[in-house]
Amino acid sequence: MLSATDLVVGYRRGRPVLDGVDIELHPGATVGLAGPSGCGKSTLAAVLALLLEPWSGSVTLDGRPVRRFRHRVSAAERTSIGVVFQQPRLAVDPRWTLDAVVRAPLVASKRRDDGIVAELTEAVGLTRELLGRRPHEVSDGQLQRACLARALVLRPRYLICDEMTSMVDASTTALLVHLVRSVAAAGTGVLAVSHDDALLDAWADDVVRWR
């Protein structure tokens, strides 16, 4: 279980963005998080992805408390949580081909490709030709497909989707959500952040609505 209790997080001293928030992600379940823009959804996603250190409160990963964030948390803990960011354009290095982007976590953690890359790129619908292109040569939707594949390539136990579908068209949304649902059915705990209520109703087992 990935959980956060009594979180207080902010960017400027004295002005917390989240104040006393609790959330739990269980393996195999999808939690939807909805709310207007600026209400702190992405901030919560960043904390749960261990990329942003909260001011106070605790984050627990599979029963063990997480005390450090970003680089300081162990690579094993970091890689057990996959993240898909809102803007695929900013979330990839513009110099890398899509293939390198998808493989990056395998390279960084010195793991071998046991066929997962081929499996995932096929599941997200990226052809060999597209994988050879660079980010500026593909659309946002195609790039987000690569980002989802990258997030899943280390078979994380949890997946944080921070507004994953806000930059992509309906058919890509359907494909990405379908893949995330099948991953969740296989035992991954998913946090689905979105401001699209209808999408979350169809996607998540349980939707938390803020404000």
């Binding site: 990329l51 890689t79 110099r95 976590p105």
Partner: protein, 304 residues
Amino acid sequence: MAEREIVAGAIGQWRQAARTRAGTPRGGAGGRARLRLGVGAGLLGVLVLAAIVVPWLWPASEQLFDYTQVRLPPSGEHVFGTDQAGRDLFVRTLAGLRVSLLVAAICAVGAITLGTAVGAVAGFLGGWPDRVLMRLLDTVNAVPHLLLGIVIVALYRGSLTAVIVSIVVTHWTTVARIVRAEVLSLRRRPFVDAAISGGATRGHILRRHILPAVAGQAALSAVLVLPHAVWHETALSFLGLGLPPHLASIGNILSDARSELLLGGWWNVAFPSVLLVLTTLATAGIAATLRDRLVPRRRSELAL
């Protein structure tokens, strides 16, 4: 009708102002930049070629004393004339230029290596390493560069290594500043977050994401450092603190030429100076064109 003309005029003015701000004023700036690059590259090419070929064709004559040929004005036999010891100034100046360019190139490589390393580490780590390194940089910058160079060279007289070290020590700071600024803007991009989440270490992110992104800037600052290094070496040699006096160097030649000027030997000063100025102008022209292409911000921001 009149109103429309006023609006059109205002838009025209605004466009011109925007172009000027962007550093691409109307009137064939592209053509002028190409001309500047072409002239710079051509000039530098000829000078480098001459500096390599001429001392190689007359290997000994830069040091060859010939007291039958003392203080000759420029002629067909001695194109740049001869100095007080009868040495041919054409060969000697080009040999000096070769030394200056070699020293400058080594210094430029040294300065960007040190500057990129410090700038990247400071910018990427942030916090106290950043503060410590930046205060160190301020300390180096606070001392006049030539003075610092003189102190280092005075401690190790007549050594080429000391000259190189003194130039590197005073020139890495600009590179470090530029690289740090670039790294600061990169380190919080989402793709760095994605890499962290994918298990990448800080060293891995620095090597695979950050350094490739700043490589262009670093290479550009190397070219910008080059003319500075040439002048710095010349200044040190001119003061008698640079290269050993028997080695030809533009600074040494100019230093010797000071006394000749009183005897009417203008060629002792004129030709080495002109070559020095042409070399630095050519390099600066190339650097400026590259800078405008690589960094399309306002020019003043990156002026070194």
